[in-house]
């Protein structure tokens, strides 16, 4: 049984269903990646897993518990963390305050976690007093990931963490994500840069029009000629 | 079809209520209520054009109605010859400065391209015009106000038929609406609300304090009427014989007859405005307006100039309110600036629209009738209720006296609660908007 699994999820934003029988899973300490064309429902699948969307069929299981009925806040308390695709920082708050807000539910001392985040993203330590809204796109993504890590999650969900980030910073960010996974945290990630993402992925999902088109290990998908032709640009 | 049966039912109940007042209280009271219901309906129609068609939140209804009232004075009152004799040239200078400023500002606005430069220039011209007016026109106002202050002390009007004031009041309101809309439309909807709140306070302040124009708090009395006077009727042969045939007392019947005349006039205007509004709503223009209201973003994307359309609708609605304002002052026969209270003139109209059915013209009309009726009847009802509730107490009990004295304020609260309940439980109103395909 996977650590996290969204099984046969079907649902949408109130109108027509966006997801159809979609299944997404992530294992402990592993990286799972969702790829697919724009509008495929990748973000929607993430929201469904996080409880920000009503699914009328299927269920979400975390560590063996059915969490389908829980609110996003309760899922945070259960050890899940989510970095949305857009608007994922508090722009008028300082970097440090952003991290503090990430740890809002924690009542214990958060300074060691914050040091860990600063170790992971040294630039944030430098800019800790600056407002997140005044940072560059790449730095902002780091704040967003850092904020999510502050809850000390067991599962980290990232929706396109490398959007709008230069290739060098992107490699940086992927390295960091691997580092995070090595500490035992499960990672579920949506990526536009499918090739690099599948490279580091233990498991890959290709989503098309709200359905699972291909599901395999990252390497297998990279080697699959059909996937290469339609989704990886040859 | 179900809908129209329901609507006929609503309006019949309303008519029944008015007849009931006629039977129980008096026909004079019933007709007074009817006349104000008619005017309220027209105001509600104006607000509904703005809110129902376009989602614009106008909190300055009072100001536009007051402009209509001012128009009634300017059009219908006879000119005060002595004032013109001593201050005519000063007034000419004042009007000259005013026109020159307006034309210069408009020219700059037309000729220059949009940008800070244009805004600053227009503002400088307006400020210069203001300063010149203060320097050259202020002394004139003093002179005017000194002429027989107890009975005139103002310029008077043009001495034209009062009916002319109705369209003029509309135009005046429309012109002010254009300026306010030009600045605030296209920004957040709250800004329009606050700006209209401000302009209406200013308009009423002008009426209260510019004695040379409107006599201020001294009020303008004795506006000429578009209908016969009671005394005239009581002496007219045809009227007396009519009374005889009906078996009515000429004194009572003359005042009922006058009110009926007003009712016919008001009802004609209401029907005309209603007909035009319905026609507009069904036209391609109306369809586009609703498309914009329901999805501003995509309308914008389709290349529709949303702000310009909003300006149109805002001006149109304000014109209707201005007309109704002029009618109201005509009915009162006097302009009483201190009677313009925002709760009565702005927010009450809003209750009418929300309760009646935003987006539906018939709904707005019904709301005008229903809410006005209850606004008037709530006072005696509240008093009766308080008397009843406190009947166990001694006649001079302080609490009892306070409660009875304050009963009048109950209706504000009642209106607020009606608004909240309607918004919550019947947000589409008594007569909901139809879904035109």
């Amino acid at each position: 049984m996977s650590y996290l699994i969204g099984e046969n999820m079907t649902g949408g934003y109130g109108g027509a269903d966006i997801l159809h029988d979609c299944t997404i899973a992530a294992e402990q300490g592993e990286i799972a990646v969702i790829v697919g064309p724009n509008g495929a429902g990748k973000s929607t699948a993430m929201k469904a897993v996080f409880g920000m969307l009503n699914i009328h069929k299927g269920r979400v299981m975390l560590d063996g518990d059915d969490i389908t009925a829980l609110s996003p806040q309760d899922r945070v308390a259960k050890g899940m963390a989510f970095v949305p695709q857009s608007a994922n920082v508090f722009p008028s708050m300082s970097v440090e305050e952003n991290l503090e807000m990430g740890a809002f539910l924690r009542r214990d001392d958060i300074s060691t976690t914050m040091e860990q985040v600063f170790d992971l993203f040294p630039i944030l330590k430098e800019k800790r007093r600056q407002n997140a809204g005044e940072l560059s796109g790449g730095q902002r993504q780091q704040v967003a990931v850092g904020r999510a890590l502050m809850t000390q999650p067991k599962l980290l969900m990232l929706d396109e963490p490398t959007a709008g980030v230069s290739p060098i910073v992107m490699d940086e960010l992927f390295d960091r994500i691997i580092e995070v996974a090595r500490t035992g945290i499960s990672i579920l990630m949506v990526e536009q840069n499918a090739r690099q993402a599948l490279n580091i992925a233990d498991k890959g999902y290709v989503l098309v029009q709200g359905c699972n088109r291909y599901t395999d290990t990252g390497q297998a998908l990279l080697n699959n000629p059909e996937v290469r032709k339609s989704f990886l640009g040859g | 079809m179900k809908g129209s049966i329901r609507n006929i039912f609503y309006f019949s109940v309303m008519a029944g209520l008015i007849v009931l007042v006629g039977q129980l209280q008096s026909w004079n009271v019933a007709l007074s209520i009817l006349n104000l219901c008619l005017i309220s309906s027209i105001m509600a129609l104006g607000v509904n054009i703005q809110w129902g068609y376009a989602g614009l939140f106008n909190v300055g209804v009072m100001g536009f109605a007051a402009l209509g009232g001012l128009a009634a004075v300017i059009i219908a009152m006879p000119p005060v010859r002595e004032a013109w004799a001593v201050a005519g040239s000063g007034v000419a200078v004042g009007i000259g400065i005013f026109l020159a400023t307006s034309i210069a500002a408009l020219l700059v606005y037309r000729k220059l391209r949009k940008g800070p430069l244009r805004t600053v220039l227009v503002m400088l011209i307006v400020i210069l015009g203001y300063v010149l007016l203060r320097i050259y026109f202020d002394p004139t106002t003093k002179v005017i106000e000194k002429v027989n202050p107890a009975s005139t002390g103002y310029l008077g009007g043009l001495g034209l038929p009062v009916l002319l004031a109705w369209p003029v009041g509309g135009l005046l309101a429309g012109a002010v609406a254009w300026i306010v809309g030009k600045v605030t439309l296209g920004l957040r909807s709250d800004y329009l609300a606050i700006a209209t709140l401000g302009i209406s306070e200013i308009i009423v302040a002008v009426l209260k304090h510019e004695d040379w124009l409107s006599r201020g708090v001294k009020n303008v009395n004795g506006l000429p009427r578009p209908v016969p006077y009671e005394v005239g009727l009581q002496n007219a042969q045809w009227f007396l014989s009519l009374c005889e045939r009906l078996g009515a007392d000429p004194v009572t019947f003359s005042s009922i007859f006058v009110k009926l005349c007003y009712a016919v006039l008001f009802a004609s205007v209401l029907l005309l405005v209603l007909w035009l509004s319905e026609k507009a709503l069904r036209s391609p223009w109306g369809r586009m307006m609703r498309a914009i209201r329901d999805n501003e973003v995509s309308a914008n994307a389709m290349g529709k100039d949303v702000t310009a359309r909003h300006l149109q609708v805002f001006v149109l609605g304000s014109i209707v309110v201005g007309i109704a304002g002029a009618m109201l002052t005509t009915l009162d026969g006097q302009l009483t600036p201190s009677s313009y209270q925002p709760l009565r003139f702005t927010f009450l109209i809003w209750v009418m629209v929300i309760v009646g059915g935003s987006g539906n013209n018939w709904g707005a009309v019904l709301g005008g009738f229903v809410i006005w009726f209850f606004w008037i009847e709530a006072e005696p009802l509240g008093l009766w209720l308080m008397n009843f509730l406190t009947s166990g107490m001694a006649a001079d009990n302080a609490l009892r006296l306070h409660l009875i004295e304050s009963a009048a304020h109950m209706r504000l609260m009642t209106m607020g609660i009606i608004l909240l309940l309607a918004l919550r439980f019947s947000p589409r109103g008594l007569i909901p908007e139809r879904n035109h395909q």
Binding site: F50, P72, Q73, V76, A77, F82, P84, A87, N88, V89, F90, P91, S92, M93, E97, E100, M101, F104, L105, R147, T151 | F57, V59, P116, T119, M123, D138, V183, L187, R188, S189, D190, Y191, A193, I194, A195, L197, G198, E201, I202, A205, K208, H209, P342, L343, F347, W350, S406, H409, R411, L412, M413, T414, M415, G416, I417, L419, L420, L423, R424
Partner: protein, 339 residues
């Protein structure tokens, strides 16, 4: 500096500077309430003026009660003693309105303009309640000492022809404003709850994802807004007098202040309060005497009052400032949330 100039400055301080500082503090407190509600609940609360009246009414009632029991603060107005009790009642009422009115629309994720209309309904109710309970008339509830410095004393001290007087109410206003603003900023910037409110105002969805409890944020916002409204209203009432309709009219300058500063921005609200107050008072002040002092020699005397705008039109000043800001910087001086 000549004595004439000193006299002119004293005159200006007495009639413009001192009143504008006091009035500006009152507007700033009012605008802070508006801006908080706007930042967190995302609508312009038209009931804020009447909330000010509502809270002040409780202050007055408690003041009367304390006075009847012989309680007083000596030279300070009894109203200060009554204020905390009034805040509690006003906050309770605000929470009730949220429970019965606004929460429904929040759950519906209704359009902001619906909230605004609902706030108009609340305004009606509050307005009716105030008039019902305390009546529509003027109430003067200031007691204790009246002046910190009387004009006469100032003249004796300095030997100038013009005096500066400072009322106790003005002193209290400024001190209270400073204390309240300091406490508010400490709360918003240093406490967990305060930071969570800022986070919620910044990015509601992300705040939810971080486990911030929206109901708590909203509750604290209403309590703060009611407290600010009650304090602002009480200070205004002590300084001038209490009349329900005047408080409704304060809505315009208060909103102008909040918009000038950038809706949703607390620092901006304070700056906006002073901008509006100084403009209003300096534009409506009659500069005749001041000019006579400033122009040396006796051969020139100002004719007329030299008043830019009659005090009857003081609301026009707020309105004009509002228009100017909307024309040139719709987001306010300190960019707010109102893009």
């Amino acid at each position: 500096m000549t004595e004439e100039t000193l006299n002119a400055l004293a005159l200006l301080s007495n009639f413009v500077l001192v009143p504008a500082v006091a009035y500006g503090s009152q507007l700033a407190l009012g605008a802070l309430g508006v801006t908080l509600v706007y930042g967190i609940l995302r609508f312009s609360n038209f009931a804020h003026g009447d909330t000010m009246a509502f809270g002040t009414m409780f202050t007055i009632l408690f003041t009367w009660w304390f006075q009847s029991m012989g309680l007083s603060l000596g030279p300070l107005p009894t109203a200060l003693l009554a204020l905390p009790f009034a805040i509690v009642l006003c906050a309770l009422f605000a929470l009730l309105t949220d429970k019965f009115v606004y929460r429904f629309y929040r759950q519906q994720r209704a359009d902001p303009v619906i909230f605004v209309i609902a706030s108009v309904g609340v305004m009606f109710v509050m307005n009716g309640l105030v008039r019902f309970i305390i009546g529509p008339n003027d109430q003067n509830f200031a007691d204790g000492e009246r002046f910190i410095i009387k004009a006469r004393e100032f003249k004796q001290m300095t030997g100038l022809a013009e005096g500066i007087s400072i009322k106790v109410s003005q002193g209290i206003t400024v001190i209270t404003m400073i204390v309240v603003v300091a406490a508010l900023f400490w709360f918003l910037n240093k406490t967990r709850t305060g930071k969570s409110m800022r986070a919620y105002s910044d990015n509601e969805d992300l705040a939810l994802l971080s486990g911030i409890n929206p109901d708590r944020v909203v509750m604290v916002t209403w309590i703060l807004a009611a407290a600010l409204a009650t304090i602002a209203g009480t200070l205004y009432g002590l300084d001038k007098s209490f009349k329900p309709f005047t408080y409704f009219q304060l809505l315009l300058p208060v909103f102008a202040a909040a918009i000038v500063g950038g809706l949703g921005n607390p620092l901006g609200a304070i700056a906006g309060g002073f901008v509006v107050a100084f403009s209003e008072i300096s534009v409506t002040y009659a500069y005749k005497k001041f000019a006579n002092y400033m122009v040396p020699g006796d051969d020139w005397k100002a004719d007329g009052l030299m008043q830019l705008l009659s005090t009857n039109y003081k609301f026009a000043v707020s309105f004009l400032i509002l228009l100017l800001v909307l024309l040139f910087r719709p987001t306010g001086i300190f960019a707010g949330k109102s893009a």
